[in-house]
């Protein structure tokens, strides 16, 4: 019943080659996606043929897409997305129709049969969720305005893919009525799962996550468990509905996204992003490598000229269709340009649609090869366009100005600058908050305890729930642009990492427990290192001396003062006035 304790070589080879090609890509300034796809092409039957898709790699690449969408869901706060919902629907539907027509047209022109052309048209309508979202996340643009538009459009495309896959998987439909039924069932399912996610985010989730948020491991794994609940239901929706005589499919990506969306509405979502991110990176890598692992060279290259021609036609078509539609919805030039240039590739779903059509006997293996090549080629090219989208915009801005209409759409997010950041809310740092609030427009407090966050928000401070060690949290607090930073961490490595990241003009206060740590921190640029145990030791020694020398008045006064301070529920605002009254004076 039990297998040998050996790990498959395939996954190890994938990991190693992806790492090596990744290193080379990094050195030469290429995006990592390209490295992964390239590693897949080299390892696959097209070149070396050393690796086959195993059950494990298939699982990891499925999880990669699911986690990518889960991560994306976690980032989507409904109140931030709501205002772009309507334009997104108005953009995506005509876009798909237009690109479908273009795709089918070019296929006919290239000599494919009309059924093949029809299916190719269906397969090229979508842009790549994996590429666009990965690139947006890497560039930290997923929640920018153009990011939101792209993500929204991708999700609507996702729903359409699910519907088309459901229809194709059912084999050749008998009549239009059957198509309509499938369509209705999928739409109802998507609606149901959305309602379930939204309801949960309003009722159960806040209670559950508030309880576990202070336990890092449990918090992370329960969130993963939540994601898998949706993945499992989506994956097996057919089994659940079979007794009712309904046949329907949902993509696990859709489920994962909804699971993430439900969590995103909670205050703890930021912390979770950083925990899910590394897993996602690892799994998505497997996904991109395995894209090209399946195909023989002969099948892949049978229609290579056609694929290149189609790619060269489709990419500009997609760009202009998007450009026209986004502009039509009244977004500004930059959003319009960036939102369009990001979406010019053919999706991995195109390959999946083609693969299902191949299995259903609608098309030949060579057409599947054509679709795969088209997808890989356009993905590869588009990655560069996304990478350099801002530079391209600046280059072409004058031309774009002439083509676009007036910007009517308002949106976007204000970032922190020249603000104060306080890491950890405790008995020490709380004394500084009112002073900082007087001086700075924004005071951001990072803390990992739920009750602290609630107290801080009630006081009107900007509070971020999360561990300062996580890069998203640091980015969110805009630590690089802060003018004043106060850290209550006594861990030297955290403080040193902090000192490395802040700007030269920032004033930095940190805490330390040991003298050599404090020295180290001063050497690294700290302006003041607070050492609570040492202060306490000095003070206690003073008191002891007064006590032993019989200075009763002094000791009583001082002790009463300290006790009074202790009793004060709120240590500000007068506490600092007393500071002159130490024993020594």
């Amino acid at each position: 019943m039990v297998a040998e304790p050996a790990l498959t070589v395939d996954f190890a080879i994938i990991l190693l080659s992806a790492t090596l090609v990744g290193f080379i890509a990094k050195r030469t300034g290429q995006p990592t996606i390209i490295a992964y796809i390239l590693a897949g092409v080299i390892l696959g039957p097209a070149v070396l043929g050393v690796v086959q898709v195993s059950e494990l790699t298939e699982l990891l690449s499925e999880l990669g897409l699911a986690f990518l969408l889960f991560l994306l869901g976690i980032k989507m706060r409904l109140d931030e997305v709501q205002h772009v919902l309507k334009p997104i629907v108005k953009i995506s539907i005509p876009q798909m129709i237009a690109v479908f027509l273009a795709g089918a047209g070019i296929s006919l022109a290239l000599g494919f049969s009309s059924l093949e052309a029809f299916l190719i048209g269906l397969a090229v309508m979508y842009s790549s969720t994996a590429v666009v979202i990965k690139m947006l996340t890497d560039k930290d643009e997923a929640t920018s305005l153009h990011g939101k538009i792209d993500v929204g459009v991708l999700l609507i495309q996702d729903i359409v893919v699910v519907i088309i896959l459901a229809v194709l998987a059912a084999g050749r439909p008998d009549d239009l009525a059957e198509v309509a039924t499938t369509l209705a069932v999928v739409l109802v399912l998507v609606a149901l799962i959305t309602v379930a996610a939204v309801l949960a985010s309003r009722t159960v989730l806040p209670i559950v996550f508030r309880r576990i948020a202070d336990n890092k491991e449990v918090f992370f794994l329960v969130a993963i468990s939540w994601a898998f609940l949706f993945v499992f239901v989506s994956d097996n929706v057919n089994l659940f509905l079979a007794p009712l005589g309904i046949e329907a499919y949902l993509s696990i990506e859709m489920g994962a996204f909804m699971a993430g969306l439900a969590i995103a509405q909670l205050p703890y979502s930021k912390e979770l992003q950083d925990r899910v991110n590394p897993l996602t990176d690892l799994f998505v890598m497997v996904f991109f490598v395995s894209v090209a692992l399946d195909l023989e060279a002969a099948q892949l290259l049978a229609h290579w000229q056609e694929a290149i021609v189609a790619a060269l036609v489709l990419m500009p078509v997609k760009f202009f269709v998007f450009f026209y539609l986004i502009d039509w919805q009244g977004f500004d030039h930059e959003t319009t340009f960036l939102g369009s240039i990001n979406m010019i590739q053919v999706s991995e779903f195109g390959i999946i649609v083609a693969a299902v059509a191949f299995e259903g006997g609608f098309i030949e293996a060579e057409v599947l090869g054509f679709m795969t090549l088209l997808a890989i080629f356009t993905m590869g090219v588009s990655v560069y366009f996304i990478e350099f989208n801002h530079a391209l915009f600046e280059r072409f801005e004058p031309t774009i100005d002439r083509w676009t209409g007036d910007a009517e759409f308002e949106g976007g997010k204000r970032g922190y600058r020249d603000h104060a950041v306080v890491i950890g809310y405790d008995e020490v740092t709380k004394n500084a908050l009112p002073l900082l609030a007087d001086r700075y427009e924004d005071v951001v407090v990072v803390d990992r305890t739920v009750s602290h966050i609630e107290a801080l928000e009630a006081e009107g401070y900007d509070a971020i729930y999360g561990d300062f060690r996580n890069s998203t949290i640091r980015k969110d607090a805009a630590i690089k642009k802060a003018d004043f930073v106060l850290s209550s961490s006594v861990q030297t490595e955290v403080n040193k990492a902090l000192l490395r990241e802040v700007s030269e003009n920032a004033t930095v206060f940190v805490e330390a427990e040991r003298v050599d740590h404090a020295r180290d921190l001063y050497a690294n640029g700290a302006h003041c290192v607070i050492m609570a145990p040492h202060l306490a030791a000095d003070r206690l020694a003073d008191y002891l001396r007064a006590y032993l020398e019989g200075d009763d008045d002094v000791i009583e006064g001082a002790i009463d003062g300290d006790v009074e301070l202790l009793e004060k529920p709120d240590p500000f605002p007068n506490a600092h006035d007393r500071l002159g009254g130490e024993l020594r004076d």
Binding site: A6, E58, L63, A432, R469, Y522, A537, D562
Partner: protein
């Protein structure tokens, strides 16, 4: 049973089932590991565990890997040098008892070894999770437990290496040891010379850095497989190859944690899924046998092991209380024992029934362990009051040095920063004092620097007798522990008492209960912080001036701090 064959569904089910169990663990404030195993026992009814074995092996690899990665190579020598080797004696005694017991029950000797290992080793994951709640309050115990566990973990790795073939054949052991040593050498080499290269190649990208390190892990695991030894040894070596440098590689260590948590959960759940629960899936006769074995393992682990450890620690001069409480932290089966068991099961060196017994005993003792941790103080008190554990006063007498006629003195509890500066004050104005300190590691310093000392536990009556607290003028506690503070307040003395508290609520409570003064370091630090920020904002000081003042102040203070605290 309708097992799921699809891997994705299997993984989904694992996490689906685990979620509620984790919520329960969190609610009950119990360690997570036994709950993973329980979740596995439930999930095992829906999934085929063989399907998950490969993922579970990644869990094992990552578990051992992160253990290795947290070891600081340059610091390892000092850890072993002043580490507590009491662990070794305990392993030998309890391990032999475990083997003897199993053989007596009719388990073949080759399999009895595994049972011996299971009872002898304790869990670092569970122990550390429990300790985190008390670590600040009780540094002596924390250090003791950590060093015992560290020694045990190293022994576990060695055991895994030696048992890699399922038997202790001479033809296997020699080459295996050589291969293990070669891997460790390679790891040291990578750590010294190649690791920063990976860092440079990744060019600051966390994604590539994590990928590179996971690839490094697979290379070492692959090398171990190639050499025919356990992948666990490879994973451990890979961990050592990673430079423990959380400053430069902050993102790496955070990222690895997520990946590890994910796969380790799968590992523990798979372990649970492999268990055939007695009476449910197995026959009556066999079930009774397994239960007997489980009961024996639990008794050995949860009662005999801490008893033996306590005895050894007391013999080595530790205070009865610290020794007992530290030993109570080791009263569970180690996760390494689970790894060894699953490895033996796959090599068919261990029968499924005995495997089940080990896993069940592990799950049970991990839960009981958190209970004994919670009630440790009470357990110790009960045992001490009945005379089961006797502190050895002769040690206190031998080490302590208090003039018989001392009166009107100050009793200073704890010789840390505060204790040291209090002693200096007393000496400066020539007032008699007695220091109470219970950390054997500080004994030499305390006895050489102070006139009058008691090396003993502040929770013990004899310690206070020795310090002649009845005639003291003042007791100053610098120890940040509520039980100690309460104990001092309950002393039969006219001396006034000042204490230390970790938070404001406790401080106020202790004042109510009769303390003259309660120090709360954060309060002072908060004041100082506010003052300095104010001076800065008002323009009284520039940043550079502040910095120079602070540095000078630090150096002034540094001269007053005892060496072991710098």
């Amino acid at each position: 049973m309708n097992s799921v064959t699809d891997l994705l569904s299997a993984v989904a089910i694992i996490f689906l089932v685990t979620g509620p169990f984790l919520l329960a663990a969190n609610r009950l404030e119990l360690p997570t590991v036994p709950f993973f195993v329980l979740a596995g026992i439930v999930a095992g009814r829906f999934i085929e565990p063989a399907l998950l074995l490969e993922l579970a092996y990644y869990g094992i690899a990552l578990l051992v890997f992160t253990f290795g990665a947290q070891i600081n190579l340059s610091g390892i020598r000092t850890v072993i040098a002043d580490g507590e080797l009491a662990g070794l004696g305990q392993i030998l005694i309890v391990g032999s008892l475990g083997v003897g017991f199993s053989v007596a029950l009719g388990v073949p000797p080759t399999e009895a070894i595994y049972l011996g290992i299971a009872v002898a080793l304790s869990s670092t994951i569970v122990g550390t999770a429990l300790l985190q709640r008390t670590i600040n309050a009780d540094p002596v115990r924390g250090r003791l437990v950590r060093s015992i566990q560290f020694v045990q973990d190293l022994i576990a790795i060695l055991a895994i290496l030696l048992l890699g073939a399922g038997t202790l054949e001479a033809g296997y052991v020699g080459p295996a040891l050589a291969a293990g040593a070669a891997l460790l050498l390679a790891a040291v080499f990578v750590n010294r010379y190649l690791f920063d290269l990976i860092g440079r190649l990744a060019g600051g990208s966390d994604e590539l850095m994590i990928l590179g390190v996971v690839a490094l892990l697979t290379v070492f695991v692959g090398a171990a497989e190639f050499a025919g030894i356990s992948i666990v040894v490879g994973a451990f070596a890979a961990g050592l190859a990673v430079r423990y440098d959380p400053v430069n590689y902050l993102g790496l260590f955070n990222g690895l944690q997520s990946i590890r948590d994910f796969f380790v959960a799968i590992f523990f759940v798979t372990i649970g899924a492999l268990v055939v629960f007695p009476f449910v899936g197995a026959e009556w006769g066999e079930s009774v046998e397994i239960l007997l074995l489980v009961a024996g393992l639990v008794v050995l682990t949860a009662i005999v092991k801490p008893a033996v450890t306590t005895a050894i620690l007391i013999a080595r001069g530790y205070e009865a209380r610290s020794a007992t409480l530290a030993s109570l932290n080791t009263d569970q089966v180690s996760e390494f024992a689970l790894i060894i068991a699953i490895q033996a099961l796959t090599l068919e060196a261990l029968s499924p029934a005995i495997f089940d017994a080990i896993i069940l005993a592990a799950a049970i003792t991990m839960v009981t362990s958190s209970l004994t941790h919670q009630y440790g103080e009470r357990i110790y008190r009960t045992l001490a009051d009945r005379g089961v554990i006797t502190g050895r006063h002769d040690r206190i007498d031998e080490w302590s040095d208090v003039p018989d006629d001392i009166v009107d003195h100050v009793v200073i509890v704890g010789y840390g920063r505060q204790g040291r500066s209090l002693v200096e004050t007393c000496e400066a104005i020539d007032h008699p004092y007695v220091v109470i300190e219970n950390d054997p590691n500080r004994r030499d310093i305390v006895t050489s620097e102070c006139d009058a000392v008691v090396i003993g536990d502040a929770m013990e009556r004899y310690t206070w007798e020795k310090a002649n607290v009845g005639d003291a003028k003042l007791v100053v506690s610098t120890v940040n522990s509520l039980p100690v503070s309460r104990r001092i307040l309950s002393l039969d003395t006219d001396a006034e008492i000042t204490l230390r508290a970790a938070d404001r609520a406790t401080a106020l409570e202790l004042l109510d209960e009769g303390a003259l003064y309660v120090g709360h370091p954060d309060l002072l630090a908060g004041q100082q912080l506010a003052q300095q920020i104010r001076e800065l904002f008002d323009g009284d000081l520039t940043r550079e001036e502040l910095r120079e003042n602070q540095r000078a102040e630090l150096e002034r203070r540094a001269d007053h701090v005892p060496l072991h605290l710098r």
